[in-house]
C-alpha cells in the first residue's frame, strides 16, 4: 500500500504540473481529471474509500463536466483550434494506465491501509448526520444559493433584453430579411 501511495502521488504531481503548463485549455482540463483520479487513489490508500468514490463522482464527474460545458458554451474555437494533435493522447494514456494497474492491484490483493484501519462510509455517515448535521444544512443552503446565483449571473439582464428587442424592432422596420432567423441566433448566444 505504501508503494501504491507513492506512485499515485507522483502521478498526481505530474498531471497537476501538466494542468498548469499546458497551453491548450481542453488538454489542461483533461490532465486535471487525471490529477483528481490520482488523488482518489491516494485517498483509497489512506483508508478513506468513501471519499475516494466521491472524488471520482463529484470532482472528476460533475465539476469537470461543468468545466467542459462552460468551454462549449463559451465557443472557444475562434481563440484556439479544438483540433487535438494525434500524439496528444500519449501522456494522459500512460498516466491513466499506471492508475489502472494500481487499481487492479489494490482490488485483487489483500492490502492494508496506511493508517492501520480504514474509516468506512458508515462511520462517515454517522459523523455527518450526528454532530455535523448543522453543517449539512448549511452546505445545502450554500448549494441552493450558488444555483440561484449562477442562474442570475449567467442569465441575460433585462437591459440587454430591451436592447435586443429594440434591435429586433429596428431590423423588422428596415425590412431586413435576416430578422426571421435572428431569434434563434440570440437563443444560441444565450
Amino acid at each position: 500500500m505504501t508503494a501504491l501511495f507513492y506512485i499515485a502521488a507522483v502521478v498526481a504531481v505530474l498531471s497537476t504540473l501538466m494542468v498548469v503548463t499546458r497551453r491548450h485549455l481542453v488538454h489542461a482540463l483533461l490532465y486535471l481529471v487525471i490529477s483528481l483520479f490520482a488523488v482518489a487513489v491516494v485517498f483509497y490508500t489512506l483508508g478513506a474509500p468513501f471519499v475516494a468514490a466521491l472524488e471520482v463522482i463529484v470532482y472528476a464527474g460533475a465539476i469537470m463536466m461543468l468545466f467542459l460545458f462552460a468551454v462549449m458554451l463559451l465557443n472557444l474555437q475562434a481563440d484556439s483550434p479544438l483540433r487535438v494533435p494525434r500524439t496528444a493522447w500519449v501522456g494522459p494514456a500512460i498516466l491513466v494506465a499506471i492508475l489502472l494497474a494500481e487499481m487492479i492491484y489494490g482490488l485483487t490483493m489483500e492490502t492494508q491501509p496506511l493508517a492501520g484501519a480504514e474509516v468506512g462510509p458508515q462511520a462517515v455517515s454517522e459523523a455527518l448526520y450526528g454532530p455535523y448535521v448543522l453543517g449539512v444544512e448549511l452546505a445545502s443552503m450554500l448549494l441552493l444559493a450558488a444555483l440561484i446565483g449562477a442562474r442570475h449571473v449567467a442569465a441575460r439582464t433585462s437591459d440587454e433584453e430591451d436592447a435586443a428587442a429594440s434591435m429586433e424592432r429596428g431590423r423588422a422596420a428596415a425590412g431586413t430579411p435576416s430578422s426571421a432567423q435572428s431569434p434563434a441566433a440570440e437563443e444560441g448566444d444565450a
Binding site: L29, V119, A127, L128
Partner: protein
Amino acid sequence: MAAVSLDHALVLAAILFAIGFAGLLTRRNLIVVLACIEIMLNAAGLAFVAAGARWGQADGQVMFLFVLAMAAAEVAVGLAIAIRFRQSVKSLDIDDADKMRG
C-alpha cells in the same frame, strides 16, 4: 512507517497546493485560473483526509465533504461569471478586467 507515509500525504497536499497557487498567479486564462483554484481546494481536502486518517476519525472525511460542496458552489458561480466576462469583455484574459467600469 505508517506515520511517515501520512506525513508524506501532507507533503503531497502542500506540493499540489503550491502548484495550484503558482498556476493561479501565472496563468491568465479565466477557466485555467478556476481550475487552479479547484487544485488548491482539492489539496486542502487531501490534508483534511490525511489528518483524519492519522487519528482514525471520520471528521477529516466529513470536512472533505464540506470542501467538496463549497468547490461545487464556487465553480458554478465562477463559470457563470466567466460566461458573462466573455460576453462583455470579449476575451477570457483576466488582465483585460482591469477597468472598474460598470
